[in-house]
Symmetry: D2
Subunit: 343 residues, 4 copies
């Protein structure tokens, strides 16, 4: 199974992250084309990746016969044209939010994809892939909270760029809670109100911050969202679901916390070593593979515990087993590391 060949359109902060992601952290894909309206930035990034070219026109990148699929991380106003081109060329596309900058053009894209008949577009609402949101959704669907009633959300950024304005709080921040609501509840939002409290003295002139969004779904569920993008503190994204049979928090920095009808608050204990150390194994292997790639020049093919560490562990465990049998403290016997040149 050969790698999927991807063109990444837009290699600003987000796009460059995605290039690194495809190249160094996930399996089965390779970036073969990058494009940016700053041609030099695209050239630099392409130069760092084997078999990757910079292409000057995003539509050429999409049309390129070598390209199997497209990632759009360009500015929002470019999305519509790029998405339509992907549809015409039958290329699967992962498009950073927003789909397009307004509802009308978004609808046009939806309709064109439907006409052509293949589901080619995925929108980058990444929270659906976050462990905690996925866990909450799965518990909700399993009926663990009964009927959901209310959703309280908090979305706080420590700071925003000087170009940020009040409407961007809605379009760029709230948009995630809009999708979270629709994802969790599987229904549409029918009304929205933005409340403007007294403003944070530390916010830039002219920006309304914080804002409180009040939303309601078709079936009458209530959602409130505190949006606060100049907290000076940290990045806090929190969601509390309140249902007929209990509630759950995610985003408290302590995993999913739940309140149940048995009168207990708390979360799940890690059930086994895969859940506890799965990430550690993945990281261990990725870093070992990277070290092996690098090892030809250094003669050191590891990025972790070496043979000596294995020997030391064996010596301690041997003494431990003797103590298990005798009940007495046992001294550990090891040769001096310095006695072995190169150990």
């Amino acid at each position: 199974m050969s790698d999927i060949k991807i063109a990444v359109l837009g290699v600003g902060i987000m796009g460059a992250d995605h290039v690194a992601r495809i190249t160094s952290r996930i399996s089965g894909a390779a970036v073969v084309v990058v494009n940016d309206y700053l041609a030099e930035k695209a050239e630099t990034i392409a130069a760092g990746i084997p078999d990757c070219r910079a292409v000057g026109d995003p539509l050429d990148a999409i049309a390129d016969a070598q390209v199997d699929a497209v990632v759009i991380a360009s500015p929002g106003p470019s999305h519509e044209k790029q998405l339509l081109a992907c549809l015409e060329h039958g290329k699967p596309v992962l498009c950073e939010k927003p789909l397009t900058t307004d509802a009308e053009t978004s609808l046009a894209v939806v309709k064109r994809e439907a006409e052509l008949g293949n589901r080619l577009i995925q929108v980058g609402f990444m929270r659906r892939f976050d462990r905690e949101y996925a866990q909450l959704k799965s518990m909700l669907d399993a009926g663990e909270f009964g009927r959901p009633l209310v959703l309280h959300c908090v979305h706080r950024n420590p700071a925003v760029p000087p170009t940020f304005d009040s409407a961007m709080v809605v379009r760029d921040s709230l948009v995630h809670e809009v999708d979270v609501t629709r994802f969790l509840f599987d229904e549409e939002i029918t009304s929205i109100q933005i409340i403007r409290p007294a403003t944070n003295p530390g916010a830039p002139e002219g920006i309304q911050d914080p804002q409180i969004a009040i939303m309601r779904t078709a079936s009458g569920k209530h959602i409130d969202v505190e949006l606060f993008v100049t907290t000076g503190v940290a990045y806090e994204v929190r969601t509390e679901l309140v249902g007929e049979k209990g509630s759950a928090f995610i985003g408290l920095d302590v995993g999913l916390v739940r309140k149940t009808a048995t009168g207990m608050w708390g979360g799940q204990i890690t059930p086994g070593f895969r859940e506890r150390f799965g990430q550690a194994y993945d990281t261990e292997f990725q870093r070992w593979v990277d070290a092996v790639h690098a090892g030809a020049t250094t003669g050191d093919y590891t990025d972790g515990p070496v043979a000596w560490d294995g020997y030391a562990a064996a010596a301690v465990c041997e003494a431990g087993v003797r103590s298990l049998n005798s009940g007495e403290p046992v001294d550990v016997r090891m040769v001096a590391r310095e006695s072995i040149k190169g150990a």
Copy 2:
């Protein structure tokens, strides 16, 4: 940069996990050879991977000219011979713990590698790559706890196979805390005592469980470890470091928790979206790439939010911006999804 070609020796539970890891979750490597003493198991696994063969003799696998590097997940008694073969062929090797089954043969392996002059062996102490252990080590090295004094560890499994015996608690469980101690403190353990409390009534006949290990390092640091492999509860691996200037817990299922001289307990707030949602982005991309691979037959190239979800978000945000300006609740206007065939 072409993939590193790996032979995996031993494809039991652990080895099969590693095969899946290399094949589907990390970048830059491919499994080209698998071996197991159960030939059929190796055949089955090889059949599921493009360009992968089963090889009957592990030493042939190591010697195979196509193989760049080796993962050893075979039973402990096979390790010594396989490691030495890797050294002779100059193949980098990631070896699951234990290095070998006793200190004497481990030392022989250390010496042979040192003689040959290249660091080829990495031992599978994966906790060093766990986010919490790495964070603790980094805080410790930065002097945030002053001089470390005491380490309290808990290592609990819900259950063990019927073949487990008291010495395996030391060799297979405690060995991880042995390495954690050496990793955190950068010094050797000089004595060990195993205390045998009254046994868990639920433990299998003849097994001493729980056990308490008391260890001491060269500089006099104290380490205690509760080893308890038949708790019936869950998998709990916990470490508390006590230093001159404060203490920290990992493994409480709530991230690293710290007690500081400012009189506060707690942990770190996620500083930004990369730390909070980095895993979500990786998962999103891995699953999208997998969906694109699968899409040719289904016409559906996504595993996440589709164009309609982008349109719905745009419609809500548009209404939100109107409410931001007017201060009034605004109804969201959308076409009916059913009106667009295929949306």
Copy 3:
């Protein structure tokens, strides 16, 4: 300093609690008169307290020359007349909320007290005396959050009596958050909106539950309150204050938790034994005093560890000091308890 002699008006659940509180848990006061519209209930309670009488008319109780002060725990509609009588007789009064049942009569009470010139009335908003609310107020006043901006509250009851109606959610539940807001912010609330989400299927017919209250203060601070009185779970009263320089939660069942600009979440470590065990000492002494009262008939004047427990501790500590000196395990030597008749 002799005890203050108190009349308690209304000895339903709340009033009876207050009688027990004054009689058995606090210092410096005694209940000498109780009154209830159910005369028999008052008689029963009076009979259980030394030197306490039941009185049939609450106004007689207030006027009683032996009564120094009054606690009003009668139904809301009786409050106005009883409060005015207390004012006329110059008796200090602690009145359960509500002050009276509407703003107009409350204002009349305020005016009458002001005319008479002595501050005699205290309203039973007990949250101001809760450790967590007091701590939050004190941190806020010390400027630890900068200017406060937003308050998120949750007020959940597992169930309410069948007579509860939608307006009582506002008058009996929300009233506490109204006072909390005014207490924390030291300013008045200028507008309020009650949002009616889809109703909990488990709520009694006709009751709107949950309700969401949106309030705004004179300076523009935003407060939202989820009111949910049929959760079936437990009693959850939670408040999150969001300020210019950080935020804090109370009511998470884990003490006050704070998020600070240093990027840490967490709470205070108990600074010393008084804070950690002050309640234990109070309880120890209250129960010992109660046991001494009871001891004349039983010959057992303790409700806690006895002399034997002191002996056993001394024996273990002696062995401990020997081990401290020798470094070896030391057996504890004690006589058999059975050898001492009556120990």
Copy 4:
């Protein structure tokens, strides 16, 4: 029921705390006699309490016909003589730990009390009255953890007086865990070992700190205690009980936290307003009673929300009920506070 008249022997830090406790926080007792080897200190304290005298000789205080019961908070070496005198006079006595300074004299006291036939002595192991320890004991006795197996304890002080020595760590700190062990497990401790790790560089010259105590009970239960009295951090007293069916932590500053066989960690949600706000009501009443005592001179008989606060709440709730009915935001109407002189 008249107050029990108490003599307090020793009014240093601890004894003075107990005097305040009896006088101002608990019901049913009064301090009538105080004694201290510093006569002046006793005089000063007596002067602050109505109907209380200082007495120069502790044995006179015990013998005093007006004294019903005795609290011993004098230095340990005085305890034996004072306890025996209490026994001879048949006076109930609450004696701060230690009972006496060694096992031999403690045993003599136990025997004398047993001979005389009345249980008069209670030892001041106050942790048995701490809410968390009591909760743990009660869960344990209810079988919620199955058979208890292991107890891990931590006992940390930020600092100790310069006179503190290594043996006092055992006698004054560890003694509490000795009693906790006996309290929780209802059995005697049969052996003890003190481990001496490398010492905290911040500890005073000559003091062994930290120390690790390893204890074993008659039935083989294992207890370990980290004793560390110069942490510089805070006061941390923590106990983890590990049983056959789960484990629980107390002293994490977040209430009792439990790990259960359902795979959940967490604690109890407050079941109702009594549990959540019981302390607040007690404090409210104690402070109101104190304010009423003080009010005669100031004309202000409250220490909390006044009538105006009741009026303001009524005005907001009235507006809330109107909004509940209309669904619209409603402005709150109130008179200006300044318009009412004295409100």
